[in-house]
Amino acid sequence: MYLALLELKAARGRFLLMGSVVVLVAALVGIVSGFTTGLGDDTISALRRLPATHLAFDRGADSDQFARSLVGEAELDGWRERDGVEAAPLGVSIARGTTDRKVEVDFAAFGVEPGSFLDPGAASGTALSAGEPSGVVVSQQLVKDGVRVGDLLTVDRLGVELEVTGTTGRSSYGHVPVAYLPVETWQRIRFATPGTRAAVAEPPHQYSAVALKAGAGADLTGADRALTTRTVTVEDAYAAAPGYTGERLTMTSIQAFLYAIAPLVVGAFFAVWTVQRRPELALLRAMGASRARLLGHTLAQAAIVVTAGAVVGAALAAALGLAVGSEVPFSLPAGALVATMATVVLVGLAGTAVTLRKVTTVDPMTMLGAGR
């Protein structure tokens, strides 16, 4: 280790250069990872928050289920009667509205049954209640947009009036902040004819899905067959959120490329470094240094450079996360940061693996050539 450090010091210019490349790659990986999580949260945090295990959609809806699927009273009641399953209706649709103080907002209307397990409660103000069908509980982003408890929120072009009774934490769906409202009111929004400015008197008693809390033994397939629904886990339903699959694919492929670049860059550097110091390696071998020692020595140098680079890169990515605040969808929790940096270190070290053979095959006999 002593020798490895001496060499690092002696060639610090080169190692600094190498280290800064690792810093940039690591910072980029961190930033991309932050955006992946941030964008993901923006798309599906409302679904992640649902205290449900499964969602039962209409059997006919294979994709974009939240927009396409409609299930009725019969399916809801059917699910409620199944053993080991708790069921609650869920309505999801996107709407726009304007408050009486002229704040215009987009929101994802999540229709839930007040008091059911889907009811988000309220962090401030009062929760939804069955006796107050026009009440609405808004999520954090809407509060930031300027919606306050007590505001009157009118759904554009439909004239449905909602009264903001409470707020809840972060929750968004398809990059749009969520507003929770009683499912009957949701039906009035979902099934209204735009432009008529007249609420449908008796909208159909339908929902986007039946949310389920299923115990381990629950026979979901049997229930699906009997009720003509298609049940998926909540996690599988993420893919039905608008844009989710495409975003993830984009971000993870950028990340994958970075993970491929890191070992190549580090590997190329150490290949050149090793070739350059073959005379030194031959001398060390001639002085009796074992192969294992030279290997450890080279790996230690790689580990120091790659780890230091990753740590600085992580700090950069985290600093960027703090700088952008909540203006952009960026989320880089410590655990994720540590995991991505550990991966950068590992793939970086893997890049040196090809060089290690060159280190061990150095022939100490080259020391005899007088022309050195």
């Binding site: 030194e280 002085m287 006999m365 005899l368």
Partner: protein
């Protein structure tokens, strides 16, 4: 401590360029004595040192270090022998680039498994003895050939080897320095009772040596102790 080569043959190179560098050579080096190894260029002096220093396995013959044959050791065993018992100063290329004179010695200690801190005082003392006390923290690759050779010598002495093999230590230094180096070699040899073999063309070294081995005569089959 003794070093004996018995009927040692070494062939170097491959194919067309293959040469027999040593052929059936037998020679003994006296313990606690400085032996000058002389002979014309290409006569195999460096090759002999490499065999004696466990750097090169002979194609035939035995190499006895204190009576134990080291010719058949595995590469790992050879490496261990080199770092624990052999001090080697090569004809050139002895130093690690970018390191200071003092660091060269401390690095060698570290390779041999010794604590650099523990040998630090001795390292400074040795560098002073070879006349480089004022240049401890100078980068070795910015020094002259003679200075570099003296650093290498100090490094070989640092670990107090049983066998000290030195290839042309005075080729790049002036007469006074050469005398100083030979004195140091002779003193070290006596103090540690090590076997010291110095390949050289330099009359200064030959005059100061306890024994002279002439490669040309060895080939003819006659050793010439003085």
């Amino acid at each position: 401590m003794s070093l004996d080569l018995l009927d040692v043959t070494v062939r170097l190179g491959r194919g067309e360029s293959r040469v027999t560098a040593l052929s059936g050579l037998t020679v003994s080096f006296a313990p606690a004595a400085l032996t000058a190894l002389v002979g014309p260029s290409g006569s195999g002096k460096s090759t002999l040192l490499a065999v004696a220093g466990a750097l090169l396995r002979p194609d035939a013959g035995r190499v006895l270090l204190n009576g134990a044959d080291i010719a058949g050791l595995s590469p790992a065993q050879q490496a261990r022998l080199r770092r624990e018992r052999i001090g080697y100063v090569f004809q050139s290329g002895n130093l690690l680039s970018g390191l200071t004179a003092l660091e060269q010695l401390l690095a060698a200690a570290s390779v041999a498994g010794r604590s650099p801190r523990a040998v630090r005082a001795r390292a400074i003392e040795l560098l002073t003895e070879v006349g480089l006390g004022h240049r401890l923290r100078h980068r070795a690759d910015q020094m002259s050939g003679g200075e570099r050779q003296r650093i290498a010598l100090a490094r070989a002495l640092l670990l107090e080897p049983d066998v000290l093999l030195v290839d042309e230590p005075t080729a790049a230094v002036d007469r006074d320095r050469a005398a100083g180096i030979v004195d140091l070699l002779a003193a070290t040899t006596r103090r540690h009772s090590c076997v010291t073999v110095v390949a050289t063309h330099d009359p200064v070294v030959v005059d100061a040596a306890d024994h002279v081995v002439d490669m040309a005569r060895l080939r003819a089959g006659a050793d010439s102790p003085r």
